[in-house]
């Protein structure tokens, strides 16, 4: 038991934990997607998807680009350029918030102009649940990122935090990947 073991390197716990969380979250989203697909086309009455849905292309591009900006932010932090990190990080937050605004305005239109609420019919129930679940995860991500932004402004974020910030970016990438699935299911397949 005393032979020293050289080079004993195990994976870092942050990314491992985040991948586990992503697996669990993916399972939750899968169930909502299954429910959405199961009920697609089964609405005897009420607004139908093809009549009221407009694919939010611009806002989706915003969200997906935010994956790029967050990647640049982490790269900048690894190199130690805090300024650039702050700029890219801020851009990510803005893009994410824009996406949320897009969702909000789409919901406003659906509720007040088209009369589609969560209780209107099966489409309403599954649509608002799925998109809402995703949106809530965007909100959580934005809150976390804003917290990091605040610490950055206070000068508390430095190169040594790059790994931790990278773990958060994994979460954000997941949120974007989920949006790709949700977009496909709701705006392409479901119509």
């Amino acid at each position: 038991m005393t032979v020293p073991e050289p080079n004993w390197v195990l994976p870092a716990r942050g990314p491992v934990a985040m991948f586990c969380l992503i697996a669990a979250e993916a399972a939750i989203f899968t169930i909502f997607v299954v429910a959405y697909l199961f009920y697609a086309g089964k609405n005897p009455m009420g607004p139908q998807p093809r009549d009221v849905l407009e694919a939010p292309i611009f806002y989706s591009i915003c969200l997906l680009s935010s994956s790029l900006t967050i990647h640049m932010a982490v790269a900048a932090l690894r190199k130690g350029s805090i300024r650039n990190f702050g700029a890219w990080w801020g851009a990510t937050i803005v893009l994410g918030a824009t996406f949320l605004y897009g969702t909000a305005s789409e919901w406003h239109r659906l509720i007040y102009r088209e009369g589609l609420t969560i209780s209107t019919n099966l489409f309403g129930t599954t649509y608002y649940s799925l998109v809402g679940l995703h949106g809530s995860h965007v909100v959580i991500g934005l809150v976390a990122m804003t917290t990091v932004m605040a610490f950055a402004f206070l000068g508390k974020v430095s190169q040594e935090h790059a790994e931790r910030v990278d773990v958060l970016s994994l979460y954000w990438h997941f949120v974007d990947a989920v949006w790709v699935v949700v977009f496909t299911v709701v705006y392409i397949i479901g119509r």
Binding site: V3, A24, A27, Y39, L122, S129
Partner: protein, 557 residues
């Protein structure tokens, strides 16, 4: 040769004020203390769940009994199932996992100690919330009390139309909250095993308990989440006017069943796999032989993990799925019996050619092997869908799953208690009391659960608060209830043993069983930092290597 590591003397003495000790426990992030808290919490709920079962059995001792009303009875079986699965079995497995894993892989604590504490308190709060329903569930109509929709809460019985008041909501929310706790613990277990093993301990060299907890944690991540999703949908139906399970609006009751059982089946593997882990540690030590077929045991467990995600609709054979769907689930369910059987054979092969010591842990392990075999065989019977069309939803099923959970899991847990209690407390349990516990509980278990198969075969469905005379069920129900007496006595002896041994038991020393995994290399109880120096290992049984320097494991593995 000493396998003790250097132990710093405990700076706290027993005369510390109670408030200080309480504060330490409430704010602790130490895996050992959290482990013990999980276990004590689960034991308290075990007694509560047992009382609920006893009430039911008294009501069913004869036909047309009026010990409790139907409303109370229906709450009893709902609370009994929910309590036992979510607030006894899961916490106790997390508790043992928490306590043992860092010690067995040579680490100082879990990967995320604060997440560990947070997960425990979430689970604890969930249990409190469920039982608060007894007081707080009166809704608008003064209806509502403890939930009474069954532990699987089928739709549309759980819709507002059929479940007024807030009882169902307490069921939903308490499980939602403790579900987050479970996911947190699962993340912690995986991160600990993947990232914190001591030098030399490759995945192929870690104890089987670590492998099995790794698979269990993976299943928790994938299985608890569907339940969380379904419960969110149920809340949306009940409070936001959603129609997920609203059959009057085109919703589907069957999809709730699918979502629930996609959780529910892997869940039972979450419970049994740690039990397998205990048996895999106990049987080798008390047979004085290495585990037979370690790589196959790992492979079989991983196979069970994967397969368990594909069998869920065997709980739905009577629901009217197509013959193709039924046939598929028959195949997947029968298939999972193969790796499970392989594990039983490997345990037997470990005993074969050994020198078996019949200490209390081993008595319970042998009981486990006998009973888990029977439980598996009744499972195979249920997997034959047409046979399930008769046996399903009857007392045969109730007998089957209690055979797994009590005859299998609880026996393995008792074995684990007797095996690791010396490590956790520094004292040996009384062997005499242990034997009394074993035999009393064994008799009670078999009286109740062997004979419980028969009313099922004679047409008695489950979840009925009373039954008609003249169906041939009376005598069997009487015998089943009598078994409860012996089981209760056994549990009393067990609790007394734990308490007596804690205060008056023989000092255990670090390695009372002459065992071979790392937890036995440190003192009993271990110091807060577990090991003075992090060990380096070369084989699956580091202490065997130390004790047999001329014949170490790493030459043969």
């Amino acid at each position: 040769m000493s396998t003790d590591s250097i132990v710093w003397p405990r700076s706290e003495s027993l005369s510390r004020p109670f408030v200080d000790q309480l504060h330490e426990w409430i704010t602790t992030v130490d895996h050992k203390q959290l482990g013990i808290m999980y276990i004590v919490y689960a034991l308290i709920f075990l007694v509560i769940g047992g009382v609920e079962a006893t009430v039911m059995r008294i009501q069913l001792i004869r036909p047309h009994n009026d010990f409790v009303s139907p409303q109370v009875f229906n709450r009893m079986f709902t609370m009994h199932g929910t309590t036992m699965i979510f607030f006894v079995a899961m916490p106790i497995m997390f508790g043992f996992g928490n306590y043992l894993l860092p010690l067995m892989i040579g680490a100082r604590d879990m990967a995320f100690p604060r997440l560990n504490a947070f997960s425990f308190w979430l689970t604890a709060f969930g249990g409190f919330l469920l039982y608060f329903s007894l007081l707080g569930a009166n809704g608008l109509y003064g209806a509502g009390n403890a939930p009474d929709v069954g532990w699987f809460a089928y739709a549309p019985l759980t819709s507002l139309a059929f479940s007024t008041g807030h009882s169902t909501d307490f069921w939903t929310l308490s499980l939602l909250v403790s579900g987050f706790g479970s996911i947190g613990t699962a993340i912690n277990i995986i991160a600990t095993i993947v990232c914190m093993r001591c030098p030399g301990m490759t995945l192929g060299k870690m104890p089987l308990l670590a492998w099995l907890n790794l698979v269990m944690a993976g299943l928790v991540l994938l299985a608890v989440s569907p339940l969380t999703a379904a419960q969110i949908m149920l809340m949306i139906d009940r409070y936001l006017g959603g129609h997920f399970f609203d059959t009057q609006a085109g919703g589907s009751a069957v999809i709730w069943m699918h979502f629930f059982w996609i959780f529910g089946h892997p869940e039972v593997y979450v419970l049994i796999i740690p039990a397998f882990a205990f048996i895999s540690e106990i049987v080798p030590v008390f047979s004085r032989k290495a585990m037979f077929g370690y790589p196959i045991m790992v492979a079989a467990t991983v196979a069970i993990g994967f397969l368990s995600m594909s069998v869920w609709a065997h709980h739905m054979f009577t629901v009217g799925m197509s013959s193709n769907a039924n046939t598929f689930f028959v195949l997947s369910t029968m298939a999972i019996s193969v790796p499970t059987g392989i594990k039983i054979f490997n345990w037997l092969a470990t005993m074969w050619g050994g020198k078996i010591l019949f200490k209390t842990p081993m008595l319970f392990a042998i009981g486990f092997l006998f009973q888990f075999l029977i439980a598996g065989l009744t499972g195979v019977m249920l997997s034959a869908a047409p046979f399930d069309w008769q046996l399903g939803n009857s007392y045969f099923v109730v007998a089957h799953f209690h055979y797994v959970i009590v005859g299998g899991i609880l026996f393995a847990l008792f074995g684990a208690f007797y095996y690791w209690f010396p490590k956790m407390s520094g004292k040996m349990c009384s062997e005499t009391l242990g034997r009394w516990h074993f035999w009393l509980f064994l008799i009670g278990f078999h009286l109740t659960f062997d004979f419980m198969h028969i009313p099922g075969l004679l047409g008695m469905p489950r979840r009925i608060y009373t039954y008609e005379p003249g169906r041939g069920w009376d005598t069997w129900n009487l015998i089943i209830t009598v078994g409860v007496v012996f089981q209760s006595l056994g549990i009393l002896v067990f609790v007394y043993n734990l308490l007596w041994s804690y205060f008056r038991g023989e000092i255990a020393g670090s390695d009372p069983w002459d065992a071979w995994t790392l937890e036995w290399s440190t003192s009993s109880p271990p110091p807060a930092y577990n090991f003075a120096t992090i060990p380096t290992v070369r084989s699956r049984r580091p202490l065997w290597d130390l004790k047999h320097p001329q014949d170490p494991d790493w030459k043969y593995e």
